[in-house]
C-alpha cells in the first residue's frame, strides 16, 4: 500500500501468464515502432508550424498591419493554413499514430503490412505540405477545413485509404475473442472519416450542390470531423488509457455500448446548428439542434463510465502524466459537449453565432479534449517505442500546466468576447466597427493564452526530440510527476 491507499500491484494474474503477456506486448510494441514514431514525429513538426501560424493569426486580429503587405501572410491565407495544419497535420497524424499502436495492442498481433503505414504517412505529409502551400499561395477553396486545393485533397485521400485498409486488415488478423471498446471507436473513426471526407469533396467540388446548401454541407463536414473522426479517436484512446493506467476494468459494458451507438447515431445529424438564422428551411437547422441536444445521452453515458472507472483512483492523477492528460481531456469532452448544446439553442445562437464563441467551441473540442488526450497517450506510448523513459518530470509538469492554463484562458476569453460581440451586433445603434472594437481586449487575452500554448508545445517538442534521439532516461521506473513513496518500481503506472 502506498500513501494514497490504492493497491498499485495487480493481484490476480499468475506469474507465467503475466510473463507471456509481457513478451507478446514487447513484440507488438517493437513492430509498431517505425510507423508510429513516423506519424508522431511528423505530427510534432506540424504542431510547431501550426502553433507559429496560430500565434500569427491571433496577433493579426488586434494588430492587423502585421506583415500586411506580404500576400501569403495575409489573414485570409494564414488562418486557413493554421486550421488545416492543426487539423490534418497535427491532430489527424498524432491521432492516427495513437490509433495504430492501440489497434496493434488490442488486436494482439504484431503489426502487419508496415509498408502500408509508412507509405500512408509519406503521402499524408505530402498532401498536407502541398495543401498548406497551396493555401498560402492563394489556392484555398474557401470551405472551412476543406480549404486544401484539389490536388492536395486527392493525395490525402490516397494516404487515408492506405491507412484505413491497414486498420481493417489488422482487425481481420486479430486474436482473442473479445473486441474491446477502444476498437469500436477506432474502427468507427477509420470508416467514418472517408464517408465525411468523400461526401464533403463530392458535394462541394465534384458535383457541387446549389447555392446556400453548400454551406450546409460545409458545416456538416466540419462539425462531424470534430465528432466522428477526432471525437471517436479521442474517446477510444481515453477508454484504453484510463483503465490501463489504473489497472481496473472499465465500469460498465452496457454504458459503453449505449454511449457508442448513440454517439454514432446523433453526431452524424449535427452541423447545421451553426447556421441558425441563416437562409435555410427551419427544420434543417432545428433537426441539427435537436440532435445536438440528444448528444447529451452519449456524453452523460461516457462521462459516467469514465468517472466510475476512475472513482477511488483520482489520487493517481498526482503521479501519472498519462492519466493526468487523459482525464483532463475526458472532462473537457463533457464541457465541450455541454457548451456545444448551449450555444446551439436558437435563443443563445442568435447572439453567439458567427462570433468568437464558435472559435472557442472548436478549440474546446480539438484542443482541450482531443489534443490533451493524445498528449496523454504519447506520454504512455513513446517510452515503449524508444525504450527510454521521459527525461524530466519538471518538463512534463510545465507542459501540462501551460497547456491547461493556455487553453482555459483562450476558451474563457473567446466565449466571453463572443457573447459580448454577439450582443453588440444585435444592437442597431452600434456601428459594426464599434462591435469589433469592444472585443479587442479579449482578443489580446487570447494572444496571451496563445503564448502559453506556444511555450507548452515547444517544451513538449523538445522533450519528444530528446526521446526520439535516445536521450531519455534508462530506468525501470517510469517518470512520475511527483515522487511515489514506498512502492518503488512495482507501481504499475
Amino acid at each position: 500500500m502506498n500513501a494514497s491507499g490504492i493497491p498499485l500491484k495487480e493481484p490476480s494474474v499468475s506469474a507465467a501468464a503475466a510473463d507471456a503477456e509481457q513478451v507478446e506486448r514487447a513484440l507488438i510494441d517493437a513492430s509498431t515502432r517505425v510507423p508510429v514514431l513516423m506519424f508522431y514525429a511528423s505530427a510534432m513538426a506540424w504542431l510547431i508550424i501550426g502553433t507559429l501560424l496560430a500565434g500569427f493569426v491571433s496577433f493579426k486580429l488586434h494588430t492587423p498591419d502585421l506583415f500586411s503587405d506580404i500576400s501569403f501572410l495575409t489573414w485570409g491565407r494564414v488562418r486557413p493554413a493554421h486550421m488545416n495544419v492543426m487539423v490534418y497535420g497535427w491532430a489527424s497524424m498524432a491521432g492516427i499514430g495513437t490509433a495504430i499502436w492501440l489497434m496493434a495492442r488490442l488486436c494482439r498481433t504484431v503489426l502487419r503490412y508496415p509498408l502500408l503505414l509508412v507509405a500512408g504517412a509519406g503521402f499524408w505529409n505530402l498532401g498536407v505540405l502541398l495543401g498548406v502551400g497551396g493555401i498560402l499561395l492563394g489556392d484555398s477553396t474557401g470551405y472551412q477545413w476543406l480549404e486544401f486545393p484539389h490536388y492536395a485533397a486527392i493525395i490525402l485521400f490516397v494516404a487515408y485509404t492506405l491507412i484505413a485498409s491497414w486498420a481493417v486488415l489488422m482487425f481481420r488478423f486479430r486474436r482473442g475473442e473479445q473486441i474491446y471498446i477502444t476498437q469500436w471507436y477506432l474502427l468507427g473513426a477509420f470508416l467514418w472519416f472517408p464517408w465525411l471526407y468523400a461526401a464533403g469533396q463530392l458535394m462541394l467540388f465534384v458535383v457541387p450542390v446549389q447555392g446556400v446548401l453548400q454551406s450546409a454541407v460545409g458545416w456538416w463536414y466540419a462539425n462531424n470531423l470534430l465528432f466522428l473522426w477526432f471525437g471517436a479517436i479521442g474517446l477510444g484512446t481515453a477508454y484504453y488509457m484510463i483503465p490501463k493506467v489504473i489497472g481496473r476494468p472499465v465500469y460498465s459494458y452496457h454504458l459503453a455500448t449505449i454511449g457508442f451507438w448513440t454517439y454514432a447515431l446523433f453526431s452524424s445529424w449535427t452541423g447545421m446548428q451553426r447556421l441558425v438564422d441563416g437562409p435555410f428551411p427551419a427544420w434543417m437547422v432545428t433537426a441539427s439542434i435537436a440532435a445536438t441536444i440528444l448528444t447529451i445521452i452519449p456524453v452523460a453515458t461516457v462521462g459516467l463510465n469514465h468517472h466510475m472507472t476512475m472513482q477511488g483512483y483520482f489520487p493517481l492523477l498526482r503521479y501519472s502524466p498519462t492519466l493526468r492528460f487523459t482525464v483532463f481531456g475526458a472532462i473537457s469532452y463533457t464541457v465541450f459537449s455541454v457548451v456545444g448544446v448551449l450555444i446551439s439553442l436558437r435563443s443563445v445562437a442568435r447572439y453567439v453565432n458567427f462570433t468568437q464563441a464558435s472559435i472557442a467551441y472548436s478549440h474546446l473540442g480539438l484542443y482541450a479534449f482531443f489534443t490533451m488526450v493524445i498528449f496523454g497517450s504519447m506520454y504512455y506510448i513513446v517510452p515503449r517505442l524508444v525504450g527510454r523513459e521521459w527525461r524530466y518530470a519538471s518538463l512534463i509538469k510545465l507542459h501540462f500546466w501551460a497547456s491547461v492554463y493556455g487553453i482555459g484562458l483562450m476558451t474563457l476569453m473567446l466565449l466571453a468576447g463572443g457573447f459580448l460581440q454577439g450582443e453588440n451586433m444585435e444592437n442597431p445603434s452600434l456601428a459594426f466597427s464599434e462591435t469589433t472594437e469592444t472585443v479587442l481586449p479579449y482578443l489580446r487575452g487570447r494572444s496571451l493564452a496563445g503564448i502559453l500554448l506556444t511555450a507548452s508545445h515547444f517544451i513538449f517538442a523538445y522533450h519528444f526530440g530528446l526521446m526520439l534521439f535516445g536521450l531519455g532516461r534508462t530506468s525501470t521506473v517510469p517518470t512520475f510527476l511527483n515522487p511515489v513513496e514506498a512502492e518503488g518500481p512495482e507501481t504499475h503506472l
Binding site: A20, V23, A26, P249, L255, I258, I293, R384, P489, E490
Partner: protein, 259 residues
C-alpha cells in the same frame, strides 16, 4: 472475466516466435511493469441515467416540434404558419404585393416615417407648437387646402380648432415625396382619428403640383384661406366617404364612392 484470455495467451501464434530472439526477454521495463490490457465490467444501468436519457429525448423532441417550421421546405421561420401567408403575399411578382396594400395603409407608413414626429401618432399634434390633424378644419375640409400645405409647407401663425399655433414651421414636401405618396398620406390623414373626408389620388396631386410650380416659398395662413375650401378636381364627388380600412384599391385608380 479475462482469465480465459490470459491462459490462451500462452501459445502465441505465428509471427510471435519469441523463442528465437534472445533480447526479447530483456523487455523494456515499461512493458514489464504495465498492467493488463483493459477489461470491461458489467455494472447495470443506473435509473438516474435512464431519467437523463428520458429528459434529453423529451427536450430534443419538444424542441424539434416547436421549431420545425412544419417541416416545410420553404419555411425559414422556425415557428411555422406565417411563411405560408408570406408565400401567398409574395406571389409571382413583387409588385402585386405592393398593390395589395390599400392607399390608406401605404399612407399610414408614410405618415409614420415623415409626419408623426410633429403631428404625433394620435394626430393631435403638440399644444402650442404643432397643430392637430384629427378633426382639423384644414384636414377634413376640401382636399385642396391640405394638399397645398403638404406640398409647399406652412409658416407663420395659424389657427386650428380655435387654438393659435405658429412657433414651428412646416417644411415643404414636394421635393421629398412623390405624387402617389402625398396622395396616400393625405388619404390616410383624412380618414384616420375619426376624420372622414374624401380620398386623394396621385393625379389630383400631380395637377396641383403643376398649378403651384411657380410658387417658390411656403404658404402662410392667409394664402390657404384665400383659396376656396373645395376638393381638388378629378377626384371622387365631394363628401364621399373614404374606403373602409383594409379595402384594396389599385394605385392610380379612383376609389369607388360609397353609399
Amino acid at each position: 472475466m479475462n482469465e480465459e484470455t490470459a491462459k490462451s495467451a500462452s501459445p502465441i501464434g505465428q509471427g510471435m516466435d519469441y523463442g528465437e530472439q534472445a533480447d526479447v526477454q530483456q523487455v523494456h521495463a515499461a512493458v514489464q511493469r504495465e498492467k493488463r490490457e483493459p477489461r470491461v465490467g458489467a455494472e447495470p444501468l443506473s435509473i438516474w441515467l435512464i431519467a437523463v436519457y428520458g429528459l434529453a429525448v423529451f427536450f430534443g423532441g419538444a424542441y424539434l416540434g416547436r421549431y420545425s417550421g412544419n417541416f416545410s421546405g420553404d419555411a425559414l421561420d422556425p415557428y411555422g404558419g406565417e411563411p405560408q401567408a408570406m408565400k401567398k403575399a409574395a406571389g409571382p411578382q413583387g409588385e402585386q404585393q405592393q398593390a395589395e396594400l390599400s392607399p390608406r395603409d401605404r399612407g399610414k407608413k408614410i405618415f409614420a416615417a415623415n409626419c408623426q414626429t410633429c403631428h404625433q401618432a394620435n394626430g393631435l399634434g403638440v399644444a402650442g407648437q404643432y397643430p392637430p390633424l384629427a378633426g382639423s378644419e384644414f384636414t377634413t375640409g376640401g382636399s385642396r387646402r391640405p394638399a397645398m400645405i403638404v406640398l409647399k409647407g406652412l409658416q407663420g401663425p395659424v389657427t386650428v380648432k380655435g387654438q393659435k399655433f405658429g412657433t414651428a414651421v412646416m417644411q415643404p414636401w414636394d421635393k421629398t415625396l412623390t405624387d402617389q405618396k402625398i396622395a396616400d398620406v393625405l388619404t390616410y390623414e383624412r380618414s384616420e382619428w375619426g376624420n372622414s373626408a374624401s380620398p386623394v389620388t396621385a393625379e389630383q396631386v400631380a395637377a396641383l403640383r403643376k398649378e403651384l410650380a411657380n410658387h417658390p416659398e411656403s404658404f402662410g395662413e392667409h394664402d390657404i384661406l384665400a383659396v376656396p375650401d373645395e376638393d381638388l378636381p378629378g377626384g371622387a364627388p365631394a363628401g364621399a366617404a373614404p374606403p373602409k380600412p383594409g379595402e384594396a384599391a389599385k394605385p392610380g385608380e379612383s376609389p369607388k364612392p360609397q353609399g
